[in-house]
């Protein structure tokens, strides 16, 4: 179970809260039960154990270890389902055809459900039976989080809530430093922009870039300190309550300033969290449009409001799994790159079947998963090298963090660029 | 049998169509003939144990044809013995007093047993011959 050759300083399993073993499994069952229902049932009743999902998973691809078979990661959740919820649940319980979920089993599955799963959904795309395995992984994480068995880093980030707390000061310092006007907490605005906490910590230029673009478009936009963090550690950790709190902040902030559009930053899971899950958490359709920033840029391009210089370079685009494969934002970034006059050299595979960078789903933040993630990174490097493109671009900060970490570790000659920064640096000033 | 004929619809007797069994039979005959010539071991085939249609019988008759010998034996009904075009292969058909076939054989041998005069009959014959000679 140890991930490759790194020494493990802390115990393999992270645990939160002092509770007896029975309590942990009870909490896990409580969360699992909340995710039972027709969709989970249809999926869990369809698996024919063909093992093909392993062929799609980058963790299996680089290790060849059968335990990384995606559907195997669902085993605890599937056990709970068969015993509690399936049409033959009575017989499964009576004859104990499926054992009860045990705490030992949950602990063992922490490595499978978090360290070795970026919830990238490539397995769901492969499954001949049409099972959305990635979707069920998120459900399974609910049980783990409720049982206090989420990885340390994700649990802390989820509990922290919006970060950094001094968002407003940081933004004003940034604005001053880069001489650009970044409105915060305007009472009324057409567009509410949001950031990823990774952008604030590591890639502040993206925020500046966003501000420049908005200024160039003359948009009536603002950030809101009561709702600015778009990336959602509640979702990554599997804590449904934290996830809802984070999303509700954004929704309420948007309503408060009467925004007609909410723009999500360059982040994969942030898009899914709000665009596709926001309304269901809110309980009714969202009163505003939700766009990934690459979608917004493509729209602005199409409407002619935004003119860009021609880069004249060959480019390859890394599709972030959550926004591209699972979110459907595939064409927008490519339209922007075209508008930048670049020659797009697609990787193979790309778009919906692209390999994951290995850092999504919170994996990049889990220190003990580094060794495993680095193994996966080779796939990405080869893929990009093969295109021979001069520039590598993506539209997700978690991906950028993974690429930068990989580049540092393997002294890779390429570095990953942000689409938004690229656009901002090539604006044609009116 | 006659009653069947005057039914309106004339059913084409499928039994008239040859079924290809004769070819298999001829192969077996050549095997038996070969065995008889090399080991002297006679053999015979009971035609009535095979699903042969009238068409098959006609085809068999045509292919085997007639050889030099054809004899009839009168013993509780008529028995016809005919050598076929292939010497050593005989067609022996036994009928009872009512003329119905009771056995229909192909025999591979120098001469079918039925043609030989049994010793017991000869003994009875001798007694009768001697009586006829007594004045």
């Amino acid at each position: 179970m140890s991930a490759g050759n790194t020494t493990i300083e802390r115990p393999l399993v992270d645990k939160q809260g002092q509770m007896p073993e029975a309590q942990r499994t009870a909490n896990a069952m409580k969360a699992f039960a909340q995710d039972f229902g027709r969709t989970a049932s249809i999926y869990l009743e369809s698996c024919i154990h063909c093992g093909m999902c392993a062929e799609a998973c980058h963790f299996y691809e680089v290790t060849g270890d059968p335990k990384y078979t995606p559907v195997w990661k669902l085993e605890p959740f599937k056990q709970a389902y068969k015993r509690e919820h399936g049409p033959f649940a009575l017989f499964y319980r009576a004859f104990n055809l499926k054992a009860r979920v045990t705490e030992g089993e949950l602990e063992q599955w922490q490595h499978l459900l978090y360290d070795s799963c970026t919830v990238c959904g490539r397995c769901s795309l492969m499954c001949p039976m049409g099972i959305d395995i990635a979707g069920l992984i998120s459900n399974a994480r609910h049980g783990m989080a409720q049982a206090g068995l989420a990885p340390k880093e994700l649990r802390e980030a989820a509990d922290r809530g919006s970060a950094p707390k001094d968002f407003k000061d940081r933004i004003s310092r940034l604005a001053a430093e880069h001489g650009v006007d970044i409105p915060v907490d305007k009472t009324k605005a057409d567009i509410l922009c949001t950031v990823s906490s990774t952008e604030i910590e590591q890639y502040p230029k993206s925020i500046v870039a966003t501000a420049r673009i908005m200024k160039r478009l003359g948009a009536n936009w603002t950030f809101r300190s009561d709702g600015y963090q778009a990336n959602n550690f509640g979702l990554l950790a599997g804590d449904a309550q934290r996830q809802k709190e984070a999303s509700m902040k954004l929704i309420e902030a948007a309503i408060a300033c009467g925004a007609k559009t909410l723009i999500l930053p360059e982040c994969g899971h942030a898009y899914g969290a709000l665009r596709w899950m926001g309304a269901n958490l809110y309980g009714k359709p969202l009163p505003f449009k939700v766009l990934h920033i690459s979608e917004f840029l493509a729209d602005s391009m199409r409407s002619g409001k935004l003119k860009l210089k021609r880069l004249g370079k060959s480019v390859t685009f890394h599709d972030p799994c959550q926004s591209s494969r699972r979110g459907g934002v595939i064409d927008a970034p490519r339209e922007v790159l075209a508008a930048l006059g670049t020659e797009l050299k697609e990787m193979f595979p790309t778009k919906g079947t692209n390999w994951c960078c290995g850092g999504g789903g919170g994996v990049v933040d889990i220190r003990r998963a580094d060794a495993l993630r680095h193994k996966v990174f080779h796939l990405k490097m080869n893929q990009i090298d093969e295109t021979g493109a001069e520039l590598a671009v993506t539209s997700c900060t978690d991906c950028r963090k993974t690429f930068d970490d990989g580049q540092a570790r393997f002294k890779w000659d390429k570095s990953m660029n942000s689409l938004v920064e690229l656009v901002a640096n090539n604006l044609i000033e009116a | 049998m006659s009653a069947i004929d005057n039914i309106g619809i004339k059913v084409i007797e499928a039994a008239d169509l040859p079924t290809g069994n004769v070819k298999a039979l001829l192969h077996e005959l050549s095997g038996l003939l070969d065995a008889w010539l090399s080991t002297g071991e006679a053999a015979s085939i009971d035609l009535r144990s095979l699903p042969l249609t009238r068409g098959d019988y006609d085809e068999l008759g045509a292919t085997l044809g007639a050889g030099a010998v054809s004899a009839s034996v009168e013993a509780i009904g008529l028995s016809e013995v005919r050598e076929t075009r292939y010497p050593g292969v005989w067609r022996v058909t036994h009928r009872n007093e009512a003329g119905e076939i009771v056995a229909d054989l192909l025999e591979v041998c120098d001469a079918p047993v039925i043609l030989r005069s049994p010793v017991e009959d000869a003994a009875d014959g001798l007694i009768r011959l001697k009586e006829a000679l007594r004045p």
Binding site: K30 | I12, T19, A103
Partner: protein, 349 residues
């Protein structure tokens, strides 16, 4: 006891005639022709067994088929060989004289005689539905079987219960082997059996003095070893998939396979396809009708004669309808229980 050989030579039958007779008998018994000398040798020494024929709940079809009154043939010759001491249908004597003859024959060659039975034996209500001179068929059979060397059940009724045993079997008809447990029983099923088959079995017992090789249903393998389908001359059409759809369509006229019209040939063991009926004239399939499977147990209750063998009895619309209703009900109950349990577990865990 005079031997058969003495009887024949006494009646002026030449040795050559006797040889011819044995050849015919060998063919009759479906033995390989090379066995003819062995048959002749055994037959010459055989003693004329006494035969008692008891007819119970039957339609006389078997006796009719055996004797075939329209043309005396080899079969009659066989009957001349055996001293048929009691056959109620054919014998001139009747009443007390007949019974006396039977008792005498049974006493006289006790343990030696061959008991032939045709017709099933009703056992319901103490066997009241079948009695002769006050004695029930059941008792008669048990009593006659005591002294028999072997019992031959002639026809499907005696062998398996036949028509009288067909659903609902009001008379409680039973087969011979259901009642006679301590004596060897040879079943010669068929409705009726082929005359040649009956005499063949008799001849075999007569010639070799013992029971021919039998299959699981106690039927002589010589005649019941293979199914009609195995020996059917229309088999090539079955393999090519050429099937008659109705009794007078183009397929039927050109002699195609009758599988679709309900032929039970594939599951019926009998010698009709080779020995054929009425001295080799024809057999049901050759005359254009599917085999009914009359030599198989309970063939009366085995589904329609005109429904293809493949159409098993899946239970009909009503049964499947109820099954569907039950399935939906149980499914709904399972879903309801699952929802309730989901509510409980998602609160307390």
């Amino acid at each position: 006891m005079t031997t058969l050989g003495d009887t024949l030579s006494a009646s002026g039958v030449s040795r050559r005639a006797f040889l011819k007779f044995c050849t015919a008998l060998t063919s009759l018994m479906a033995l390989p022709p090379s066995m003819a000398p062995a048959v002749a040798q055994a037959l010459a020494k055989a003693k004329r067994p006494s035969v008692i024929w008891l007819s119970f709940q039957e339609c006389t079809g078997c006796v009719e088929s055996l004797t075939r009154t329209n043309s005396p043939t080899l079969e009659n010759l066989i009957l001349d060989l055996v001293s048929l001491d009691y056959i109620e249908t054919l014998q001139a004597a009747s009443g007390f004289a007949a019974e006396e003859a039977r008792q005498h024959a049974m006493k006289e060659s006790n343990g030696q005689y061959l008991l032939l039975v045709d017709g099933s034996i009703p056992v319901a209500d103490g066997g009241i539905y079948g009695t002769l001179a006050g004695e029930s068929f059941v008792d008669m059979l048990q009593e006659s079987a005591k002294g028999a060397a072997a019992v031959v059940a002639i026809g499907s009724c005696a062998s398996f219960g036949g028509l009288p045993k067909a659903n609902p079997n009001p008379t409680g008809a039973r087969s011979v082997s259901d009642i006679v447990k301590d004596k060897p029983v040879i079943n010669v099923p068929g409705c009726p059996p082929i005359a040649v088959v009956m005499t063949g079995v008799l001849a075999h017992y007569l010639t070799f003095g013992k029971i021919p090789e039998l299959d699981a249903q106690r039927r002589p393998l010589a005649f019941y070893g293979e199914t009609i389908h195995d020996r059917c001359y229309r088999r090539p059409f079955y393999d090519q998939g050429k099937f008659a759809k109705t009794f007078d369509d183009e397929g039927a006229r050109s002699g195609w396979c009758l599988y679709e019209l309900g032929c039970k040939g594939p599951i019926t063991h009998n010698a009709c396809a080779t020995v054929k009926w009425n001295a080799g004239t024809s057999f049901p399939i050759q005359s254009g009708h599917g085999c009914l499977g009359c030599s198989e147990p309970d063939f009366w209750d085995n589904g329609s004669f005109y429904k293809a063998l493949a159409t098993a009895d899946w239970g009909g619309a009503k049964a499947i309808g109820t099954a569907a209703a039950v399935g939906v009900a149980v499914g709904a109950a399972a879903a309801y229980a699952a929802r309730k349990r989901q509510n409980r577990v998602s609160k307390e865990g």
